[in-house]
Symmetry: D2
Subunit: 433 residues, 4 copies
């Protein structure tokens, strides 16, 4: 029996309600206006001190901010659904918030990070897909919570409720970071550079799914998150009529296509995991015009910073050569980054000891092997550089399809399990004796 079984029981319908609300209203990175507003209003009611948008982020540390046009269009769409003062704080792509709860008693400073952004994916619309069947699928065409951040946000709200309503049992200080733009490694650095982690003693974050762990299983830490870099590349050539003057064209579509096909052939690295992906390519205007424009979005990853640097060096040369191959110009823009990260043994012990008494948490694994990338790495590395401890957990659930696929879904029963874990951490590891 969990120490706060009743509280969690009572939160369960709310967790589902919140999760479904965010799932139905997904927003892309640095455009989480309604999401931030919904989170903020909930926390405001609980009495948290809020730092919204520009107050939560270092503006110039954001990577890969959408174009002004996209942002303004979305701001126009959402402006009627929130208070003007909130919009002021967020405008120009400054979403997310930090929320602080100080018990007033001496104690550790804990920070929790919950990511809140969705992905540019068209959600599947058939009855096999539960969100569609149950009617809470995305209302924003082409945008979808396909990585579980809707659940992360719900868990964060649940934990905030616990802390606000059990403050008398706790000591120290709690900082909640509802982070925008995790996808693409774009938002964490901006929160980190604002200084939120500078005096944090313990940092906890985590993810639903990722690994094929059963419901009720929690991994107390992860290893294998990769260093990564995100680039946008533009190719500029010369258009010409493809029938009448093919020899006058300088084909930027071909340069982009050549780069894409070549980048996957960067040699594997013997010292560890490497990755490369070109996730988007657009080029050309009309069928009979040799294209003067090409554009790709890519990322490289490495098990270590040095492997990622190797991938970047190779990629950079190949992109240049692809452009030269077709006599066009290329420009590389740097739009995102993550670091590798290492979880602390002390946090693993805390989790194992605290959660042992829960009936919801059936099994605790010390560490899970993963191979994606996480910009929580920036936060963890700053916490650790000041002597704090940090970990990144996984919460087991069956997945209906892979992360980032149109039919992605998870078991909603993972939400109370994750909340229970955080509560045990707060209570068992860092509460009043």
């Amino acid at each position: 029996m969990s120490i706060h079984h009743e509280f969690i029981q009572s939160m369960q319908p709310k967790l589902v309600k919140w999760r479904r609300h965010f799932h139905r209203n997904p927003e892309l990175g640095f455009m989480e206006y309604e999401t931030t507003y919904a989170i903020g209003k909930e926390l405001e009611a609980l009495g948290f001190t809020l730092y919204i948008g520009r107050d939560a982020l270092k503006s110039t540390s954001r990577y890969g901010v959408p174009s002004s046009k996209e942002i303004q269009q979305h701001e126009a769409n959402v402006s009627s659904s929130m208070e003007e003062s909130w919009l002021q704080k967020m405008n120009g792509g400054h979403t997310g918030l930090a929320a602080v709860w100080d018990t007033g008693r001496i104690g550790d400073h804990l920070a929790f990070r919950f990511d809140i952004d969705a992905l540019p994916i068209e959600e599947k619309a058939d009855d096999q897909h539960l969100p569609y069947k149950e009617g809470f699928h995305s209302q924003n065409p082409g945008v979808m919570h396909a990585c579980g951040h809707d659940g992360h946000t719900a868990i964060g709200l649940g934990l905030a409720h616990f802390i606000a309503t059990h403050t008398s049992e706790l000591n120290g200080k709690f900082t909640f970071l509802f982070q925008p733009a995790e996808e693409g490694g774009r938002g964490a650095k901006a929160m980190t550079d604002k200084g939120w982690l500078n005096d944090v003693d313990y940092f906890y974050s985590g993810h639903i799914g990722i690994q094929d762990l059963p419901l009720g299983t929690v991994a107390a830490s992860t290893k294998g998150f990769l260093a990564s870099s995100k680039w946008n590349v533009t190719f500029k050539g010369q258009s010409s009529h493809a029938g009448m003057k093919p020899e006058d064209g300088r084909n930027a579509l071909l340069a982009a296509a050549t780069a894409a096909t070549q980048l996957y052939a960067i040699p594997r690295h013997s010292e560890g995991v490497s990755r490369v992906n070109v996730g988007k390519l657009t080029a050309g205007n009309g069928r009979n015009i040799i294209s003067d424009y090409g554009y790709i979005e890519l990322e490289t990853r490495g098990e270590t910073k040095s492997i990622n640097d190797y991938m970047q060096k190779e990629a950079s040369r190949m992109i240049r050569a692809s452009a030269d191959m077709h006599h066009v110009e290329s420009t590389i823009d740097f739009v995102g980054e993550t670091e590798p990260m290492v979880c602390d043994d002390e946090t693993i012990s805390t989790i194992k000891e605290s959660c042992g008494s829960s009936s919801m948490i059936k099994h605790i694994i010390n560490t899970a092997q993963v191979s994606g990338s996480e910009d929580a790495s920036f936060m963890m590395n700053v916490v650790q550089s000041h002597g704090g401890k940090a970990t990144y957990m996984l919460f087991g659930t069956r997945l209906s399809d892979n992360h980032h696929s149109p039919a992605f879904d998870y078991e909603e029963e993972v939400l109370p399990v994750a909340l229970d874990t955080y509560i045990h951490i707060v209570k068992g590891g860092h509460s009043l004796e």
Copy 2:
């Protein structure tokens, strides 16, 4: 001194005004609503019998009609600027019109074709570019008259004025085809299949520019227009997280890029000119997602139908192999077509003899070598199959940049030269004796 020098003098300001109006308001193929309306109102006032939109086209013979969404969006934008009855005739992408003038006297039936569509190109915006400097550049972002069809339309209106005001001097019947969607070889077949050419004795069409001929020079015919085919190809794969599960993805972006890079390597054909171009490529949703979607727009061309068939056979196999290479599915949609065409000697003689007396037409070339494609070929081939005669002319002008480039422009003095040519044809070749 031209026989109708004064008439042409009086039309000159109108030709420029019309040309600039259409240049300022370009519309893409099968979306020329305002263009058709402007032409139609002018002809209606002159007393032509009009066949608008659905009455001018065989609906099912149109190639490459834009998506309903694009059409509806454009219809919504233009609906306020025209009579409801006109919109009814054009709705769903049935633009263009046929206009008939019958002198009531026995005589030849002549048909003229003027194409009216623009291209998906962002017009250049600097003072070197005359339309920008003079303020008549495109008001529709991303759409531009970069092939001179604005001028063709103006010439057609000028010729209509001549016929209406000089009907007493003429005999026989005159059919004007203001054709939509020439770009991509999409519109001519739909007009042809409606039957307009079935009893035509003489067919005349032509183009501004194309060849590097000086102002005042007219080519009485062309050879070298290529057979061509236009395809859209869709690739469907499987998305997956590029960092965590790269091996589960089936990469449709790579399939599309591979197809593009390979198609250009179809071997040259020893029997004549061949061409291939992938003018557009879009694929992928997000940087860290292996793309499940790819799309290309391409065209093949050949000096003969058999060379174009060879290009199509090779392209088809390469596209299938590119899909198979990356374990994805491909679908080819056929969206446009042109035929090769041969101009008749009789029409060349007519032009040479009729135009010899003009002071505007300084030089007449029998035939000009070209290498683009023209869907007027469908019209010419039908005229000739019924024993009629046909030609396709060129009207010389200096060009500021290649056709289909953002800085394309021509000398407006070519407009009266072309009008003069058509008038001489009508008068000298086919008028009352």
Copy 3:
């Protein structure tokens, strides 16, 4: 009835015998030792003045001479079958010969060029292939007369017999150029630069087959032979163990393969025929070693020198970019060249008028369209630059397979037809009145 019908009748068995001898003993360019010796001994017996090997060629103007090793190995093989003095004149790859016959009477100086080299092709060995069935197929593994130069050589010998035995009927001077290394455009420039063509009044050469003309048909001239350039390209990278240290390799095999796949995608040129081919690629040493070495042999062609220059410029950039793509070095060696060429109308008239009376020559075409390349172009261009006239003919025959394919063969009856043509030219066009 041909004027020299009986002479030709008597030569017919010899033409076949010679042709089959050369077919059975094919030798590659600049290694035609036995071939040159066989030709030379025949001409020596007839009384021609001979210029063998080094006396016939400008050594430094040879393109693409085989390696010393290959040459020495072949010299060792053939040394026992010829006089030492002949070998001395040819050694180091100086094959071919010039043979001069002076009638002692004032008159025109005529030059004839016959090419004598074979190709690196393994001849087909089945009974459908006549040379195999009749037992005169290649005795040199991997080498084959697959372009008809065996026949050209036989025709040349036949013509030499005619001139030697009919000298009393002739005037002027006759120069025979039995040229090595026509394949690859490697030998003609070396003969040309030796000065043989400097005072020639009329130059005649020709080819068996090429076009699909029936036996008995002769084309008096050709148009369409392309300018061409021949390159060898070497790529130098860094080897590494492919399993243990893939990242340390710089893959020259991939650079060569990338160059090959890209070169075919050089855009077509609107002003005329262009070609590119990578005919050979070798790279790598062992399966598990990242290759430090790659090598390709390629050629470009163009209808005009300027189109060929365009092809070379594009190819050069693509090769450099392919090397850069894989971080390796590339070196381009220039090993062969042909020029475009234009046949003279005067020679066409001569042929038509002279050959009209022959019963073997059933049909004479003014000119045939072709699209290969010919280094006789160097000879023709020099003749014409001095005011002489030149032509290049085709002799019709059914072909069992394409030129340069392992099953290539032609009708041996074409040999007397071609000989008859040359005799008529000599007699009708340029003999004693």
Copy 4:
């Protein structure tokens, strides 16, 4: 002080002599005739029971046997340097030998494997390269001991000397497997399938270098050797004259080049290490002929059998698609294979305990991480499947360049260290108590 310090001291010059002899006379896999003969004569003199060539191998289990032509040529070259009876046992590519020593006393059966083949690499010829400077570089052009098997063979001979001269101190049985064709995973299976490992209690093998370990350091086991597969692929197309009939060719050179460039782009696998390499590519006959023939040699590797199977499945589809892309046929031949392997803890303990007392062995590492492939895996897996124990060691040395590179070399002082290790194993772990 090592227990057999004096014996090793006395062997040291012999180890160097042997090693340099084999280095000077390298032979490729399944062509190690002189190598086998030299080993055999040495062992024969010591009194070993020998099983030569066909008696040591299961003929049909050999992978990737060279062509009859290559084998016969090499047999002709070496026939004069050995007894006819030996040649008889080896002819047709049956090289290597098994040598058995039975102490006549009950005890464990130990097997040792030493690989004896060289690589198709041209050895570096400059004074920085010790074998060249000291005059023992390869006498066989294009063949080189670039992986240390010359040293392995020398160590094996040293160990055989020890056992023969110290038999009174030992019990049980010792089998020496001097294995041909380790490179490419081609020889071990043939020895394994002959049954040599079926009743072996302990199996020891090892490698010089591989890891960057200092001289005197021994790794008692390895992990990370990859499953691998070796393929030869042939592409068959249609040749044609590249200038005159490009459209008739079916380009097998392009198919091979396309396959090579694509294979490197097989997606990385999330569950572990994967590799692919095309180590050799040859295609085409002549510059102006579209190639009808292409050939590649490739290997795939995987950390597990299942990852290697994934690589094979992807490679197979890509090869087929590359062929289809260029309309040619492809055939895949399976020519080599290795399995993953796991060393036993018991053997690690034996080595650590036995070798602790040696002064030559400065440091023993439990296990070293590697990432190549080893066909000793077949032997180890059979030993283990019968309940025996097996390990694969590494012997530290500085390397002058990577394995498989033309300047590869190692410190000869590693030879006595390795010999000492084997002697300690024999004495300490498995000798008379």
